[in-house]
Amino acid sequence: MPIDTGDTAWLLASSALVLIMTPGLAFFYGGLVRKKNANAIIMQCFACILLVSTVWVLYGYSMAFGPDVGGFVGNLDWAGLNGVGLEPNEGYAATVPHQAFMIFQAMFAIITPALIIGAIADRMKFSAFLIFLLLWATFVYNPIAHWVWAIGGWVRGLGALDFAGGTVVHINAGAAALVGALYLGKRRGFGKDPMLPHNVPFVVLGTALLWFGWFGFNAGSALASGGLATSAFVVTHTATAVAGLTWLIISWLHKGNPSLIGACTGAVAGLVAITPASGFVGPLASIAIGAGAGAFCYAAVQYKNKKGFDDALDVWAVHGIGGTWGALATGIFAEKAINAAGNNGLLFGNAAQMIPQIIGVAATWGYSMVVSFILLVIINKTIGLRVKPEEEAVGLDLGQHAEEAYVD
């Protein structure tokens, strides 16, 4: 098929939109931490852009989407983008240049490890983070992306539906986040000091950029302009609004005050949950998915607060639980009427769709937790993961980067 200018325009615009999500995340996280750690967490997000982009071109894309090796990972034939040119790759996206598909996928590879950062905030050495990032992107993200999305990937082979990354991106990051938070241990003063978000407008800015960029993430995953992209766009927006509203109301009833951070967090939970479903479900289903996201993720945060583990910015609750709900909801609400290339779900008479969905979810949780743990242990035993107590006290901005976020 020839290249379609409209499809390519949409995919390039979507790629730009997904890129801006990572700075969006940096502001979302940056606003939530204390002032003295603002630069450090933004830096970690920014480092994901720099490092993952570089290795994606060098070998990451090849590992994730290159010629299949046993359903598990791609080989290195496409390293350095060898053979990844400006003609379409019919298997992935028939009407846009292959490189457009490649760069769109690069943006997903960037943001996934960046999501983890919220869990390990305010206490990890930057050098250790960089090494973790490199290893995790290589040995966790690339294989899981291959399983689910690549031609020959084993989860894809089962017929699991994940339109834009509920498993690959969100469960994957949420699982690593949980392991990271538990293995690193609590921040100093956790449970005693207030540790209030230092800049709520930044949280809102981050949420806005995430929401804006997520249209590229989900509607761009149609890999073409037209009906499917439109449908994904619409359900993304709807689920997000409903989830934000749900969280706002539940937390208001529960705690007595309508929280702006709560509304933002709920919206992000909605974005997460609709992600895998976005190309397969209709608007009314998206309302249900959004409401579920707001409720389940809020409950997960309360559970975490009670258990007292220090997933500092709730990556597990929002991305892990939200992604899991979304992946299962895809199995419930999917409709062939929306996307003929998808499948019907439970509600449309195909209960069997739940099986590949559950397998995909379980495999991602398991693989990500185990390998993330191994990587963390290795780094901890060699160069060490955690900053010195004095650095934590004075803040990572000065302690690790010799640069303060704000100077009067």
Binding site: S259, Y298, Q302
Partner: protein, 112 residues
């Protein structure tokens, strides 16, 4: 000479400041502080985790005056800062040994 430090509600700063200048007390120094007294703080939330913030934002007004002016200054501050509710604040009075105007080098009462 005396130094009067008044810790007051932020929303009263304008009134106090203007009343002082109307009465001829131009020289003042002002800064934001946080305080705890009998007023209970706020309970803030972060995703359902409650955190009591017992320090409340207040403003401190500092002015150095001649001993004779003390009662008048206290009266002005109280009249303009009082609401009758807990949290209205306090005034502290302490001794000052000397004042120097940097521009001219004047010292003592002349320099206030």
């Amino acid at each position: 000479m005396l130094k009067v430090e008044a810790i007051i509600r932020q929303e009263k700063v304008n009134d106090v400041k203007n009343a002082l200048s109307n009465a001829g007390f131009l020289g003042i120094t002002v800064y934001d502080v946080k305080g705890r007294g009998r007023q209970k703080g706020y309970v803030l939330n972060f995703r359902g985790r409650e955190m009591r913030v017992d320090l409340i934002a207040k403003t401190k007004i500092e002015l150095v005056i001649d001993d004779k002016a003390l009662d008048e200054v206290i009266k002005i501050i109280r009249e303009n800062a009082v609401t009758g509710n807990i949290g209205d604040g306090k005034i502290f009075v302490s001794p000052v040994l000397d004042v120097i105007r940097i521009r001219t080098g004047d010292r003592g009462k002349e320099a206030i």
